[in-house]
């Protein structure tokens, strides 16, 4: 698998004119946010006369850098930096101050999470008289002390006469009032310890430290360990050397520590140490040191897999090299960084090399990060490149920093390089801020990052993931193209959706593997479960270092919309009983999706909705359905009702008010019932017209005299009868003039005219008698009867006359 290497000259563009010897570098990557990186070097403040000193800061993963005064104090000498594992606190161990007395030089342990440049770091602790403070830090991941920052500043303390390896540690370094403890690591009788002391801390509480013990017999490379964060009852006593019974296992003895008596390519060689613990296994630890034998200074790498008790033989030896750094990635890859002088004077070169191995150098890959002249620029001071450099791992990536001749020459950087400062790589010239004035070559800090080539999820979906309008109950499919835009293989382990409305494809067997540049199309289905706008996220989980890739999708399930239309506002107008009126109730789907109608009911027995055998009814977008509503009244007057339509419209049920007027028949009677005088014994008749002058049929149920009277008869009475509007029926009223004295009689007409259900008419007649003396037998011919005219022969006294016509 190829590796991706980035090398960046850290001098910012604003400092294009600088010519400092920016040596002795250190680097810290924030594990919680690897985009945030801090670097240190012997770079002076950008402010004239500043009482502060700067650090390099990047918030884009090391691609660009700023210089900011973050350290209170100047001039700064040795310094190192390291972030805690969590929380974003940066810790620094810094020597600073002027004067000829090193005993007065300050050794500060500093802390900050503010990199704005507006404030300097907070002092956690301060003492004096120390050398090479080298910081290690982590954060307690769990347990009662979870979240506490544990900081270990390994150094060479000049206070005691034997100048011992020392660790200043804080078990709660992120506390407002953090405290530190100074622990002497050296347990042997020594003339002194070497300049470098290096520590490594594992999140399980294992803390290692390595240093040189120097006795008259020579130096030994020693490693000590504490299994409780350096807080054991007898700190750092976990490893006892089996040879001398002293604290710390001697990894190598009879080491010739040059103590700065040696120079390689203008670089003094004090001594070198590096240590790294496997982040996945605290028992696995590597150490590198330098040894001058037979005038050849050589770096050695050894390994322990039993927490430092026993050690391998030399896994790797590099002659004429210095500034080692070790780091182990989360997948167990060991990185070994060093700077080696190659060639012969005066053409010697400094090569900065990163070797990588999964097999303790059984096989390995070497990347030359820089290959620059060793004799230029001339040394301004020592150390030329620095007494150390730095490398660490975060995840599967290595991050590091080194110094080198800054000639803008691509040949010097086999894996490429990026300059922020002005430089012309064609003429191999550094340029000042004016882009014209040439700037002398100097020593600059270089940042590098090495990551395994990985796949990178790149996706494409139409309309930026908008599925548009999709009706509930239906679906729409869109193609999501997943492309591997990275340099390495991509392994997709899941594709999931945050919303049940968006269906991710079913994959029978994960992982889905894509080579660089390969792509697959998968179908994402939008099947809304509810109405309205819907958003969701399709998450593609893979080994893309950027983490899960999220595709935002959206769609709208339009709301069904049913509109009801009925003429005249639901007024059916006058409708007679016995008849009916139909009005169409129009159901219109005015939305974008089908509407289902599950019921139409009427609240009134006089308004009828059609019988629908099977619900629901379905109406497509824009469709209309005319539903006949029948008004069939059963009683007179204003009749009202409500038609209720139940549908899939969220506004359902919809109600429509209906009404109708039910008129009646109207009774009208014409004709005179005033007979006047009728010759005795004669008959007189009048015809009475009983009419319906209303809009509806009139039911005349009875036409009769109120009381039976022998003188009055109805002849051919057609009633009861129903009179249609405008129709009349006549009834003949006969008077038989036989009564001696006039007697009033009342004709009663009964109908369903609500205004006059019973109409009473007075019929008036009297008998005109001739002189008549006897009346008992009513012998009209003898006593008073008049000869009748016309029908007068029908004598009213005819006893044979019955009541046949009376009703």
């Amino acid at each position: 698998m190829p590796d991706i290497i980035t090398v960046v000259n850290m001098i910012p563009n604003g400092l294009s004119g600088e010519t400092n010897q920016d040596s002795e570098t250190n680097l810290a990557v924030n594990p919680a946010n690897p985009l945030e990186i801090v670097g240190s070097a012997f770079t002076p403040s950008p402010n004239a006369g500043s009482k502060n000193s700067p650090l390099f800061y990047s918030n884009d993963g090391g691609n660009t850098w700023n210089l900011r005064d973050l350290i209170a104090g100047t001039p700064v000498r040795d310094q190192s930096v390291r972030f805690a594992e969590a929380g974003g606190n940066l810790y620094a161990g810094v020597l600073w101050g002027s004067g000829s007395n090193i005993a007065a030089i300050n050794f500060d342990i500093l802390r900050t999470n503010d990199f704005s440049g507006a404030t300097t770091m907070t002092q956690v602790a301060q003492r004096t008289n120390d050398d090479q403070p080298f910081v290690a830090a982590t954060t307690v991941p769990s347990g009662p002390d979870a979240g506490k920052d544990r900081v270990y500043v390994a150094s060479n303390d000049h206070g005691p006469a034997n100048v011992p390896a020392t660790v200043d540690l804080s078990l709660d370094a992120n506390a407002a009032a953090a405290t530190t403890t100074t622990l002497r690591l050296e347990d042997r009788v020594v003339s002194r310890d070497g300049f470098p002391t290096r520590s490594a801390v594992h999140p399980d509480g294992t803390v290692y430290a390595a240093y040189y013990s120097t006795t008259a017999a020579g130096s030994a490379v020693v490693i000590v360990r504490d299994d409780d964060w350096g807080n054991s009852a007898s700190p750092f006593d976990a490893l006892i050397d089996t040879g001398d019974g002293k604290r710390g296992v001697r990894i190598a003895t009879a080491v010739n520590n040059p103590y700065s008596s040696l120079a390689l390519g203008q670089q003094r060689i004090g001594s070198d140490l590096a240590i790294a613990v496997d982040p996945t296994d605290s028992a696995t630890v590597y150490v590198c040191w330098g040894d001058l034998q037979n005038s050849v200074y050589t770096l050695y790498v050894r390994k322990s897999t039993d927490s430092g008790v026993t050690w391998s033989g030399n896994l790797r030896t590099i002659a004429n090299a210095t500034n080692p750094a070790l780091a182990i990635t989360s997948d167990g890859r060991l990185g070994f960084l060093y700077q080696q002088v190659t060639g012969l004077a005066p053409g010697q070169r400094w090569e900065t090399t990163l070797e990588l191995t999964h097999s303790d150098f059984g096989s390995s890959t070497a990347h030359v990060l820089s290959n620059t002249p060793a004799n230029t620029p001339a040394q301004t001071f020592t150390p030329y490149l620095g007494d150390y450099l730095s490398m660490m791992s975060v995840g599967r990536s290595f991050y590091g920093i080194f110094t080198a001749n800054n000639s803008p020459d691509n040949a010097n950087f086999p894996n490429g390089v990026t300059y922020q400062r002005n430089a012309n790589f064609t003429t191999k010239t550094l340029l000042a801020n004016d882009h014209v004035t040439s700037v002398p070559v100097s020593i600059d800090p270089f940042f590098f990052k090495l990551s395994p080539a990985t796949g990178r999820v790149v996706t494409a979906i139409a309309d930026a993931g908008s599925f548009g309008d999709v009706c509930r109950g239906t679906f729409r499919d869109e193609t999501l193209t997943i492309d591997n835009g990275g340099d390495g293989p991509l392994s997709i382990t899941s594709i999931s959706s945050s919303s049940p409305a968006f269906l991710a494809p079913s994959v029978l067997s994960y992982p889905v593997k894509l080579g660089p540049g390969d792509s697959i199309d998968v179908t994402i289905r939008f099947e809304p479960k509810s109405f309205g706008p819907v958003v969701g996220t399709i998450t593609i989980t893979s080994d893309d270092p950027a983490g899960p890739h999220k595709v935002h999708v959206s769609g709208v399930a339009p709301t069904p919309r049913l509109s009801l239309i009925i003429a005249h506002g639901g007024d059916f107008g006058p409708t007679c009983i016995g008849t009916f009126a139909d009005q169409p109730l129009v159901l219109n789907n005015s939305g974008m999706c089908p509407v289902t109608i599950s019921g139409i009911v009427s609240s009134s027995v006089e308004f009828f909705v059609p019988d629908i055998l099977v619900y629901p009814l379905a109406l497509g977008p824009g469709d209309a359905l005319a539903v006949p509503i029948r008004f069939e009244p059963r009683s007179h007057g204003l009749q009202t009702g409500t038609i209720t339509v139940t549908s899939s419209d969220p506004g359902s049920p919809h109600k429509v008010s209906v009404k109708g007027e039910v008129p009646s028949g109207k009774l009208a009677v014409t004709g005179s019932l005033c007979f006047g005088g009728v010759k005795a014994c004669c008959r007189a008749e009048r015809t009475l017209s009983i009419c319906n002058v209303g809009h509806c049929a009139l039911h005349v149920t009875k036409v009769a005299f109120k009381r039976k009277n022998p003188h009055w008869k109805l002849v051919n009475n057609p009633f009861p009868a129903t009179l249609p509007p405008g129709m009349c029926l006549g009834v003949v009223v006969r008077y038989k003039a036989t009564e001696k004295c006039p007697i009033a009689c009342e004709l009663v007409i009964e109908s369903d005219d609500p205004a006059t259900p019973v109409k009473t008419l007075d019929v008036m007649a009297y008998t005109v008698w001739r002189e008549c003396t006897g009346k008992r037998d009513c012998d009209c011919r003898r006593c008073g009867c008049e000869s009748c005219e016309g029908d007068a022969e029908d004598c009213g006294c005819d006893e044979d006359e019955g009541d046949d016509d009376e009703r």
Binding site: P12, N13, G14, L15, S16, G17, E18, T19, N20, E24, F42, P44, S45, P46, N47, A48, G49, S50, Y57, T64, W65, N66, L67, R68, D69, R77, S100, N101, I102, A103, I105, S116, G117, A118, D131, Q132, N156, H158, V163, S191, R192, F195, T214, Y259, S260, R268, G270, Q379, T380, F381, T382, P383, D387, Q420, A432, N433, D434, T437
Partner: protein
């Protein structure tokens, strides 16, 4: 503003320049609100670290509490502190004044005063100031394990005194110097045989001196403790200003 106040302002300012606000340019500088950041074109750098002397003609961003007034000015002398130097130089204003010729002359004078102050103070504390020539030099300590990478590597120089500028007359004087080229000492004078110049000599604290050093030896360890004879005028000005410290 008094002269002393101006000097104090210049001393606090890490970057002093004459410049023009870029019309309409108020920039968002990270957490700073746009209203607080004004872009300037630098016309002349009046005081800076060496690396920023070439910024004339470039733009810098000034974060200021007085952005509205400053942005409308035609030209100003800005007293600032660099807070971030990246692709752009971002500074924070600690003062400003008009850019009249007189004003700039006063700033230049204050800048000179600030730059000469260390020499004046060093000369003031010098016990002996002489013009002399190094006639010999030797390592004081026997070679052995260094105590530190930052050891001074003490050497002792015998200096033949040509002239005493300050202090009692002497024909010869022994001077301890740090021969180390370490980051802590590389600016310290290296008084090897044949070196001639003006020496500002102090006596060191006992615990600073190697046991092998002569008890009454002087020290010349500060970068300002040695000057070429050509700079005698500067030194005499510093010495003469000794009695009228500001």
């Amino acid at each position: 503003m008094s002269t002393n106040e101006l000097v104090e302002l210049v001393e606090r300012a890490g970057f002093v320049f004459k410049g023009r606000p870029v019309a309409g340019e108020r920039r968002d500088v990270e957490s700073e609100t746009p209203a607080r950041a004004v872009t300037f074109t630098v016309d002349e750098v009046l005081r800076s670290a060496d690396a920023l002397r070439g910024l004339a003609g470039s733009e810098v961003i000034v974060v200021t509490e007085d952005a509205a007034a400053i942005a409308d000015a035609a030209e100003l002398v800005m007293f600032t502190v660099c807070t971030s130097v990246g692709d752009r130089v971002v500074t924070e204003e600690i003062g400003h004044r008009d850019a009249s010729r007189r004003s700039i002359d006063e700033v230049r004078e204050a800048t000179r005063e600030v730059s000469e102050r260390p020499l004046r103070e060093r000369a003031k504390t010098a016990e002996l100031v002489v013009v002399g020539t190094v006639t010999g030099a030797r390592r004081v300590e026997e070679p052995g394990l260094p105590r530190s990478e930052h050891d001074p590597d003490w050497w002792l120089a015998r200096v033949a005194v040509d002239e005493v500028i300050k202090g009692p007359n002497r024909k010869n004087v022994d001077v301890l110097f740090a021969n180390s080229n370490d980051i802590a000492w590389y600016r310290a004078p290296k008084l090897h045989e044949g070196t001639r110049g003006i020496l500002l000599l102090h006596r060191g604290e006992e615990d600073e001196l190697p046991r092998e050093a002569p008890a009454r030896a002087y020290q010349a360890t500060h970068p300002l403790d040695f000057h070429p004879v050509e700079r005698r005028a500067n030194l005499e000005r510093a010495l003469s200003a000794d009695g009228r410290e500001r």
